[in-house]
């Protein structure tokens, strides 16, 4: 289990991460969400031991993370961390050997991964000759080549098209099923919502949301109901418990105080002659973020 316990990091007088705590069990995919400058990369660097913590502790299976366990960790950095003058094969051999792997093992694993990510033809090409998307694939391959027990992915989907996002997602899920501890960051909420069960949302280094994603959503009082029918905006606004009504071309987006309002609202709508839609939507992370911070995540 990876445990981040009351970790704080100061750069001089600047507070980068404030009292961050979370834990990730084997087989879990954990999301670290936050806009640029929230403290995600700093957190990862502290986990990897690249940065010293000001306070707190970080352990893997109860032991501090040092160079004796880094062979079991895979790390994908936010920016490309490939030595562009090397070929794909040289790069993977280089990083694989630094992970303590034998040459034969690296080469067999490399062939398998290159095929899976559909980039076998680039094996002897120099990194600098590859497209951004393919470079990201190679970077991902170097991160997982040692079949890590702890996989840290800092913005893994950056620069990828939806097809490749799906490819990465499948691989990440596959690794979690094998028991890897996976922690990844993104500034895109939809990526975290894709397959994270647990998450932490950071803002200026502070934790503003934390825990199981489903529970966070169910605990969120405010809901949205999508209605399509022969009623007017004013009629909906008059209903008890309705906070706001947004009129869209084909439907009304009705924000309500809590789930108890759904029943009374449904009673009102069912009296109408033509009703073609009544959907109670879960709140998006962005809705929750707005409520917590008073500002939109995607601003």
């Amino acid at each position: 289990m990876l445990k981040v316990d009351h970790v704080t990091k100061y750069y001089g007088d600047f507070l980068a991460v404030d009292d961050l705590s979370f834990s990730v069990n084997p087989g879990e995919i954990f999301g670290l969400l936050g806009v640029n400058g929230a403290g995600k990369t700093t957190t990862f660097r502290m986990i990897m031991g690249l940065l010293d913590k000001t306070k707190g502790s970080i352990t893997l299976d109860g032991k501090p993370i040092d160079y004796s366990v880094t062979d079991q960790i895979g790390f994908l950095t936010e920016e490309r961390s490939l030595l562009t003058k090397m070929t794909v094969k040289e790069q993977c051999l280089f990083y694989g050997t630094l992970k303590g792997m034998k040459k034969e093992k690296i080469l067999s694993r490399l062939d398998e991964l290159l095929e899976r990510f559909e980039v076998s033809e680039y094996k002897d090409k120099k990194i600098k000759e590859l497209s951004k998307g393919n470079q990201q694939k190679i970077q991902f391959i170097t991160a997982i080549i040692n079949e890590p027990r702890l996989l840290i992915l800092d913005e893994p989907f950056s620069g990828l098209d939806p097809f490749n996002v799906e490819m990465f997602k499948k691989e990440i899920i596959k690794m979690s099923k094998k028991g890897s501890i996976i922690i990844f960051s993104s500034h895109r909420m939809e990526h975290v919502e894709l397959f994270c069960k647990k998450l932490v949302v950071l803002l200026h280094g502070k934790t503003i949301l934390k825990g199981d994603l489903k529970k966070i959503k169910s605990d969120y009082r405010k809901k949205t109901v999508l209605i399509e029918g022969d009623m007017t905006k004013e009629e909906l606004e008059k209903q008890k418990g309705v906070l706001r009504v947004i009129e869209k071309p084909e439907e009304f987006e009705v924000q309500i105080e809590d789930m108890s309002v759904v029943d009374s609202l449904f009673s009102f709508v069912s009296k109408k002659k033509h009703v073609t839609k009544f959907v109670v939507e879960e709140p998006s992370l962005n809705d929750i973020f707005i409520e917590k911070t008073g500002e939109s995540y995607d601003k």
Partner: protein, 440 residues
């Protein structure tokens, strides 16, 4: 971690050596050195009118000087060029004015007009359409001087045996009583003129290679962010030492290759057996070895050689430590190039002081400078050969260099650890001084 150190070192070394540019640079170096040693053979290989004899008209109004001159000219040319005379000499009888006309029409013709002055001493006028090159002019003036001497000897009725006695050089034996001041001005200048191109210049060149190699590599890994992956697997200390090791190994390999090329060039020269060139590379090497072995300094060098080599190695290590630390602080190659300028200046200081050591013999300032870390490796060998310093001075230089290296490792590593993962030049010096205070 030790195996990772060697792995990083070998990868770093291969990245330098297994490049086409390394191969191209070394092929060019080898060809240039072999070419320089055999430049005469190369020139002859491409052909030219080397054997064509140039016409020389002697207008002799002295009645007999021309015979002495032809003999002197043949001897002088043989002594200097090692060949037969390159002139087709004609005793011209149509008069000076006619000879001038011919010389104006044919630029190859050289006219020598022999007369006596009012004191009945030989007077020679050399006439040519254009200018005369330095070497032919020296041969001519030397031949005329010899002619004048021979004429004077003949008029004084001195026979050949007496002439040989007069011309034979005086026997001079030099005995230096003080062992610490072996050598003399003449040999010192000779050694300085030969040690520079074959000892000081290579050290200077290799230092630049070393600094640039380490700087470029650290910057490459930093700018591509590959550093984060590397440092997440090996400690900054391991990474730092791998750079120092690979940099120094590269320099020693390059030095070995330079030595190999020089040896090949020298043996090629011996095999081909080209003609001797005044001031040629192979003559300079020969002179250097000859002077060192014969002046008595050679004996000192043999004793001190291990110490000098140790000092040079320690200095290379020092330069690589400095280059690594400075490179870690920079965020791109351009910044490092600016920072490496002071390192170049330190080397240049040693270079110029070594040059001046020959001019200001016994200078206390230069002697003190020879202890200075980084400068000592360039300056000390020269001062040692000149006899200005001894074992004790070299030992002091070694101890000081070791001390500096120790300080660089102890404190530089702290800067390196912070620097290699720092991508911003904002508050750079503040960050570095802060890093210095932290214990690693």
């Amino acid at each position: 971690m030790t195996s990772k150190l060697w792995y990083l070192t070998s990868v770093s070394l291969k990245r330098k050596i297994k490049t086409k540019w390394f191969v191209i640079a070394n092929v060019l170096l080898a060809l240039l050195l072999i070419g320089l040693f055999n430049i005469d053979t190369v020139i002859q290989l491409f052909g030219g009118d080397f054997n064509e004899k140039k016409p020389m008209y002697l207008v002799d109004e002295t009645n007999g000087v021309s015979e002495f001159f032809i003999e002197a000219l043949n001897q002088t040319e043989y002594n200097i060029r090692g060949t037969e005379s390159s002139y087709e000499v004609t005793n011209y009888t149509k008069g000076l004015e006619e000879a001038k006309k011919e010389a104006l029409e044919n630029s190859k013709i050289l006219v020598l007009h022999f007369t006596y002055d009012e004191n009945h001493l030989l007077k020679t006028t050399i006439l040519s359409k254009g200018t005369i090159d330095t070497l032919p002019y020296q041969i001519l003036s030397s031949s005329i001087q010899t002619t004048k001497v021979n004429l004077a000897l003949k008029e004084s009725s001195i026979d050949i045996e007496e002439l040989n006695r007069i011309e034979s050089p005086a026997t001079i034996e030099r005995v230096i009583l003080d062992d610490n001041t072996k050598g003399d001005e003449e040999s010192a200048q000779m050694i300085m003129s030969t040690i520079f191109p074959f000892v000081i210049m290579p050290i200077f060149m290799l230092t630049m290679f070393l600094v640039q190699m380490i700087g470029a590599e650290v910057n490459d890994e930093k700018s591509t962010r590959g550093m984060e992956i590397i440092i997440s697997n090996v400690s900054p200390k391991t990474h730092f030492f791998s750079k120092i090791l690979s940099g120094n190994l590269f320099v020693f390999i390059q030095a070995g290759l330079l030595f190999l090329y020089t040896s090949i060039a020298y043996f090629t020269k011996t095999l081909i057996g080209g003609s001797k060139i005044v001031g040629g590379v192979e003559e300079a090497v020969g002179d250097m070895v000859h002077q060192i072995l014969n002046s008595g300094v050679g004996e000192q060098l043999i004793i001190l050689l291990p110490l000098i080599i140790l000092l040079i190695i320690l200095t290379f290590v020092g330069y690589s430590l400095l280059a690594g630390i400075l490179a870690s602080m920079t965020t791109n190659t351009e910044d490092f190039q600016q920072l490496q300028s002071p390192i170049m200046m330190i080397s240049l200081l040693g270079y110029f002081l070594a040059m001046m050591a020959g001019m200001f013999q016994g200078s206390i300032f230069i002697k003190i400078c020879s202890y200075l870390p980084f400068v000592s490796a360039i300056l000390s060998p020269s001062l040692l050969v000149l006899g200005h310093i001894g074992i004790l001075d070299i030992c002091i230089s070694i101890i000081l260099m070791m001390l500096i290296n120790g300080i660089l490792i102890r404190y530089g590593l702290r800067i390196y650890k912070v620097g290699i993962l720092n991508y911003s030049s904002k508050n750079l010096w503040k960050k570095m001084f802060q890093a210095l205070k932290e214990k690693s």
